[in-house]
Symmetry: C2
Subunit: 174 residues, 2 copies
């Protein structure tokens, strides 16, 4: 088969590719009525762990996509040091998750949309991923598929507001 | 039996009493070769959850005393909202744990010794427990049995250093 100009080449090692996998996870959260945030952790070009927000399902306020994927990655690696791992997450990590990422010594963090109010990776009130007081600093990239990541969150919260008002969320096109 | 002046009355609802229970947990961590930090969570004057640092045992860098006790308390309460709960921990919480405590809406946090470098509850570079950017603020007390809490940590790290140098840690009196 010859690749033509009409067929985009998918780079299986690009930030876009892995952020799409994180978005797949966010969609799973959305479908289960959870705030739609998803994450994957990549080592040597392979996804070794994935997670999506499950706060309501697990009745655990710490069950964020990043925390669940970190635990799964540590299990996969057999080590709490994830020094050769990169974490892709659809939304900027909160302080809890950023603190956990630093503890696990994740090499690089790539997030989709910013979270100006409570983000802890540069766009909020504190950057815990690159803080001289802590014993590890991550490389950080952001803005990857940011609009897709943000649109899913907006849709979720708009539907939640409409539901609260007694509207029909199925009529809303995010 | 009559209580005399020689027999101190133990106040079963005091901060000292519950910090002693957190210290019991820290001692369990110490005995298992983990950095000795312990926590208990109290609701209506009863300990509903406890935890101690298990990072090495579980090979999970997020397995701090606070995180494990928060998960156990949410399980006990059947809810991620711990709005009538108080958390006692022997050392000032790190950013990850402070972020988790805020997510769970813990009413009050009582910690033993400060952690000036990475503490996130007032004595370090950021106070996440009382931050206007976040959606919950805790009451915070500190200094309860601080010297006992710090002494156990000092002993652990001194022994670890001596072991590293080939000394005999059993000879060290913390």
């Amino acid at each position: 088969m010859t690749i033509t100009d009409d067929e985009p080449v998918i780079d299986l090692h690009s930030d876009d590719y892995f952020m799409r996998r994180a978005l797949d996870e966010a969609l799973r959260a959305y479908q289960q009525g959870e705030v739609p945030v998803g994450a994957v952790i990549v080592s040597d070009g392979q996804v070794i762990a994935r997670g999506y927000n499950q706060v309501e399902m697990l009745k655990d306020a710490t069950a964020h996509a990043e925390m669940l994927s970190l635990t799964a990655a540590q299990e996969a690696a057999g080590d709490w040091r994830l020094t050769d791992c990169d974490l892709y997450v659809t939304k900027e990590p909160c302080p809890m998750c950023a603190g956990a990422i630093v503890h696990c010594r994740v090499r690089r963090v790539i997030f989709g949309c910013p979270s100006p109010k409570d983000g802890a990776a540069g766009s909020g009130f504190v950057n815990l991923l690159q803080n001289p007081s802590l014993n590890h600093s991550c490389d950080v990239s952001h803005g990857i598929l940011a609009e897709d990541c943000a649109a899913l969150l907006r849709r979720f919260f708009q539907e939640a507001r409409d539901k609260h008002r007694g509207g029909d969320p199925s009529q809303i096109d995010g």
